[in-house]
Symmetry: C2
Subunit: 307 residues, 2 copies
């Protein structure tokens, strides 16, 4: 099949690279000029668990013309509507769209551009880093879960899962993927925003006396809102998952720290804690921790003049 990676940052490069090793065609899409130029001139450089440079086509989203069999969405959350707008030309009646973005509520955006029976929602624990234009650093293993949004169209999801597993991305078709998406959002909603605000590593947050208290209150808000939306969430299991993740990732600064503190870029807060607060408000559920965290992050974006 012809697979586009819509948003070829670190994770997009990992997926594009691994899928290109199968019999499928891959085209990377991105808007970062230097990244495009570097990959067009020198290929995509991979370091980490393997060291290799591969030739892969890359272009701007608006330049793509061949109809896609599969589009994997890997943009930053706030770039999603523009990306969907830009790739209209490659979306046919049978084009499947797999969303692997962090955060909550993306299906509502995607539905405006893609018919429900072609939408696949997923969540992945793969990681990747970008060392510079055209250079991805890939270490460790991961997996992903995905589901067709239309329960009548499971077959499409299972085919995509098989293809991704062939690419050693280890995809599982998941008849109930939403709890997994929410669980990952809990990881992001507890560590990303707080470590960005406190300018600390995940380990420093969890080692402090008050860090775990905040984390538990945030998870509680995610759970009551998710449950009210009909997503079945096990609070105790999520707390354990988040704390286990914090141990594995103790020495890392989460991605929102990289965005806000290190690179002075806009954050995805509106799609994590902000999404819970917005959903909560609609459902009549107060989520003050998520709201205050969202307000603090937005205020910091303004203070740093990136908003």
């Amino acid at each position: 099949m012809l697979v586009y990676i819509a948003g070829s940052g670190a994770m997009g490069c990992r997926f594009g690279y691994q899928i290109s090793k199968t019999g499928n065609d891959v085209i990377l899409l991105d808007n970062w000029e230097e990244h495009i130029k570097s990959i067009q001139e020198n290929g995509l450089k991979i370091t980490g668990d393997v060291e290799e440079t591969v030739k892969l086509p890359i272009m701007k989203p608006t330049e793509a013309t061949k109809e896609a069999d599969l589009i994997i969405l890997f943009t930053k959350a706030m770039q999603l509507p523009q990306m969907l707008q830009d790739i209209k030309g490659i979306i046919g009646s049978e084009t499947k769209v797999l969303c692997l973005l962090n955060g909550l509520g993306h299906e509502e955006v995607i539905r405006q551009y893609i018919p429900e029976h072609n939408i696949l929602m997923g969540v992945t624990v793969w990681t990747a880093g970008l060392e510079g234009p055209g250079h991805a650093h890939l270490q460790g293993v991961g997996a992903l879960n995905l589901q067709s949004m239309d329960p009548e169209n499971q077959e499409a999801g299972r085919q995509v899962a098989d293809m991704l597993t062939e690419a050693k991305l280890f995809a599982t078709y998941d008849e109930n993927v939403l709890p997994n998406i929410w669980r990952k959002a809990c990881v992001n909603g507890t560590m990303n925003s707080t470590c960005a605000l406190l300018d600390c590593t995940i380990g420093e947050l969890f080692a402090s006396e008050d860090g775990p208290k905040m984390v538990k209150e945030i998870i509680h808000e995610f759970v009551i809102v998710g449950e009210a939306e009909g997503v079945s969430l096990n609070e105790e299991e999520i707390v354990k998952y988040v704390f286990d993740t914090s141990v594995k990732a103790a020495h890392h600064y989460p991605s929102m720290h990289q965005d806000l503190v290190q690179n002075h870029r806009l954050t995805e807060i509106d799609f994590i804690n902000g999404a819970v607060n917005t959903k909560g408000a609609k459902l009549g559920i107060d989520t003050p921790y998520c709201r205050l965290i969202t307000q603090l992050v937005h205020a910091k974006e303004e203070i740093l003049k990136i908003k």
Copy 2:
């Protein structure tokens, strides 16, 4: 009368200096060695609206022996119990104690050391800066309100107010000082903690889209807890007062920013937002904004290894 200043930082120096210009005797108490040494050797240097160096006795709290007529408490909030312990020897049956600390709940601490009829609670809008050991910078004007905690003993409070007014500190005897203490706590609870967390000036906080939203939610929590404690608070008036203050102080970093960010010192958060959360918990009132802010500030203190 013999007046001790218990805690001779910037504000203590202002009060000690101005009272020493009246017919009363002043003794400064402090624990900062270099500050004591500098004032003992060279006198207290005053710059700003006046330029002068005055001889004033200064010693450690434990070294004071002469019974006090009045003790003005000007420590950092968390140093208050130790100070009261250290000055036991100068507290006689008629010694009045005036508390001018920032924050809430100090009367409960003071009551453990001083009989109710000798306690005066106050709040001041005077400001002062310390340029270094033995050097206070005094600019602008201010005033203070104070009240006897024992309503049967107003006379003691009125005498102290008269003496302070004679010292041009412009004290008013206030038959209901608690609303003023809470109003000042609202200023501190909205600007100090948030500007410390966001590393910004008061003006930057209030200029951001979300800053004023946070400020209003924090004030609301102070008001509902204060009201539940029997303090009559006008939320609308307090919001206006806080916003007016933010305009006047726009270019300043508040004192908690100086403590946490600039000097890596412990903050007074437990006596401001933390006090509201503790009081709220006892009253069955949830104050998530105050609680999360307190948790974030404490986490930051730990991350900076100052806790």
